[in-house]
């Protein structure tokens, strides 16, 4: 018997079960607690038999298949849903998120993207442009600020375009936005719909960061007609270097890993700056505050306007996008050949203090 039999809700949520059971349980709880009830139904793709952690007649489970995107496409076709969500195990939907999407009045074929809050330790941060909007060219440049779970993918538009691309099982939502976002309108809603983590990609658990980085690089390469995108390049190099820390090496390999992983952290931080990650002033978690998403959808207050944001949305000297203040003035005042000599000297100075051998 199909798990989708009797499906009636506008939203189908497909959850890939995590081997860390508490993650899946917390995600499911944030879904089944959405009001009004009945907006969404959930299918859990299980990696092991047993209880999924939440008792609800709107949650069903099937064994995960190797081709999980193909499996998802089958479920979407059977369900007749309007939107489909692909949250990750670290996403937690905020109260009112689903109602906010359904009540938007978006066109039948439109996808909807929301912002998200990112938990960083015990602090919370915003990510993306302010005010929030769907910026296709930011994604095309590889600066992805949209958590996959915050993309309400229009099911009819998705299936008409061929479904998910099986080449990107760990970047399905990003690839879909690149594929459909230029030709078809994507509605956006100011205000977060979920709280998640960013390592550095919002909504991607740390364990998936390298896989996701590789796949988004490949997707961006394809959609940029085989020219590397700056954002994915920055993130890919940073993530791969940073994740060397996870393994034990010996001798020269360990020294190289130490140098790379330290540099990787700096690159990852630069990527987070570029996608507009800004810590909230009060440091509180949106989920803890339990603010309705409808209230957060109003225009952000003036006192949150950033002063100096090193992001792709910041205006200023195109050649010094990531620098501000004194350095920008010095560069503008220094002849280019002299500036290049100074930059090489600085690199040599740094290499002297951090050699590989």
């Amino acid at each position: 018997m199909s798990v989708i039999l009797g499906f009636r809700s506008p939203i189908l949520v497909i959850v890939r079960e995590s081997p860390l059971r508490h993650r899946t349980t917390a995600l499911l709880q944030s879904i089944v607690s959405q009001e009004p009830a009945g907006l969404a139904e959930v299918v859990v793709l299980q990696v092991r038999p047993g209880h999924v952690g939440v008792d609800s007649d709107r949650v069903s489970a099937v064994a995960a298949e190797a081709d999980w995107l193909g499996q998802a496409a089958g479920l979407i076709r059977e369900s007749g849903c309007r939107w489909v969500l692909l949250p990750s195990s670290v996403d937690r939907y905020l109260p009112g998120a689903f109602e906010s999407a359904v009540s938007m009045g978006a066109d039948d074929d439109e996808a909807i993207v929301f912002g998200c809050h990112v938990k960083r330790g015990d602090r919370s941060a915003r990510i993306g442009p302010d005010p929030f909007l769907f910026d296709y060219f930011a994604l095309l440049s590889g600066f992805n600020y949209i958590a996959p779970g915050a993309v309400f993918i229009n099911a009819r538009r998705l299936m008409a375009s061929g479904g998910f691309d099986p080449r990107f099982p760990n970047a399905a939502a990003y690839e879909y936005l690149l594929r459909s976002g230029a030709a078809h309108r994507v509605a956006s809603r100011a205000g977060p719909c979920l709280e998640t983590e960013a390592h550095p990609f919002p909504g991607i658990p740390a364990e998936y960061a390298a896989l996701h980085a590789l796949e988004v690089s490949l997707a961006a390469l394809h959609y940029n007609r085989f020219a590397p995108a700056p954002g994915t390049t920055l993130a890919l190099v940073g993530v791969l270097a940073q994740q060397l820390e996870a393994s034990r090496y010996v001798g020269h390999d360990q020294r190289l890993a130490n140098v790379l992983s330290a540099g990787g952290t700096r690159l990852v931080d630069r990527y987070l700056e570029s996608v507009g990650l800004i810590e909230e002033e009060d440091g509180s978690s949106e989920l803890e505050a339990r603010e309705p998403a409808a209230a957060a959808a109003e225009s952000p207050s003036a006192e949150q306007a950033p002063v100096d944001r090193r992001t792709i949305w910041a205006s200023g000297d195109e050649g010094d996008r990531h620098d501000g203040g004194l350095k920008a003035h010095l560069r503008a005042a220094t002849p280019r050949p002299v500036w290049n000599v100074l930059r090489r000297a600085r690199r040599g100075y740094r290499a002297f203090f951090a050699p590989l051998d």
Partner: protein, 295 residues
């Protein structure tokens, strides 16, 4: 496809060691879960095998783990319990609680498989290792990369999907020159004849169990064996894992219960012909369990 006692010798002997000491927290639970998983998958792969367990320095007053195995895993083929007096006689370090590689030598001596895998009780075999086990050759030291998994995934209802899942991953113990010895104790596979010719693991040095696995890799390579890496094996992280305790106990780990680490493990060795308690009298303890008495 397992070999019955006294019947045709199996293709593979799997030798594991331990005692009923709750090592790393819930040692017995992890052991039973891993053994069940591997046994089922070895059978499914059509690999005739026997499981050999050696209990070393059993704890006084606690049931033998060998008996617990007999109750919970009745398919388990052979079990040995080594008299505590052997540990007292052989150990040169009063802090050393468990002589892992002496215990593995006991199992090695008595294994009947054409190939012998010495491994540990909390190791799950990957799909590629299981596939590779059907096409082994003599005089090759087979190794595997140990991937440590997040302990919070638990071990019940384990599946390949869980083992291979990115969110299960904790760290990888990569293999590098010259000896490919990282986490070697969790996977050392060789034909039995060569294992016996090499004399098993080092019984000359008796103060520690640490780096005895790497020392064996040195020993094997110095005797001209080739090294091949078959794939991954998975290890559930726990408190007492080397990666979690190696920063404790000060330089050289001289106060550690597993023995010191600052010995010359890259030197070769030559065991006595009686290695592996070859001449220890064996007495029946219970059905399927032999007791190696210390005279």
């Amino acid at each position: 496809m397992t070999a019955a006692a006294g019947g045709v010798a199996p293709w593979l002997s799997v030798v594991v060691v331990g005692r009923n000491d709750d090592f790393g927290g819930d040692f017995n639970g992890r052991m039973m879960a891993a053994a069940k998983f591997n046994h089922v998958n070895l059978e499914a792969a059509g690999i005739s095998h026997e499981y050999v367990f050696v209990e070393w320095n059993p704890i006084e007053g606690k049931p033998y783990l060998a008996k617990i195995i007999a109750q919970q895993l009745p398919w388990w083929h052979r079990r040995y319990v080594v008299d505590r007096k052997w540990h007292a006689r052989l150990s040169a370090n009063p802090r050393l609680r468990f002589m892992e590689f002496f215990a593995k030598n006991v199992g090695l001596r008595r294994a009947r498989g054409r190939f012998v895998l010495t491994t540990n009780t909390d190791i799950w075999f990957s799909r590629e290792v299981l596939r590779a086990l059907t096409r082994l050759r003599e005089r090759v030291l087979y190794r595997a990369v140990r991937v440590d998994l997040n302990r919070n995934i638990g071990y019940d209802d384990m599946t390949f999907s869980v083992l291979e899942h990115p969110e299960s991953f904790l760290r990888s113990n990569v293999l590098t020159r010259d000896y490919y010895a990282n986490a070697a104790g969790d996977f050392l596979l060789m034909d039995r004849q060569t294992y016996v010719e090499l004399g098993g693991f080092n019984e000359v040095y008796r103060e520690s169990k640490i780096h005895k696995d790497a020392n064996f890799c040195v020993h094997a390579l110095r005797h001209g064996l080739a090294v091949e890496v078959l794939g991954l094996v998975y290890h559930l992280d726990h408190e007492s894992s080397w990666n979690n305790v190696m920063h404790l106990y000060g330089p050289g780990h001289r106060e550690a219960p597993f023995g010191r680490s600052d010995w010359q493990w890259d030197a070769d060795y030559d065991n006595e012909p009686t290695w592996g308690l070859a001449e220890a009298p064996e007495e029946g303890l219970a059905p399927g369990i032999l007791f190696l008495r210390c005279p």
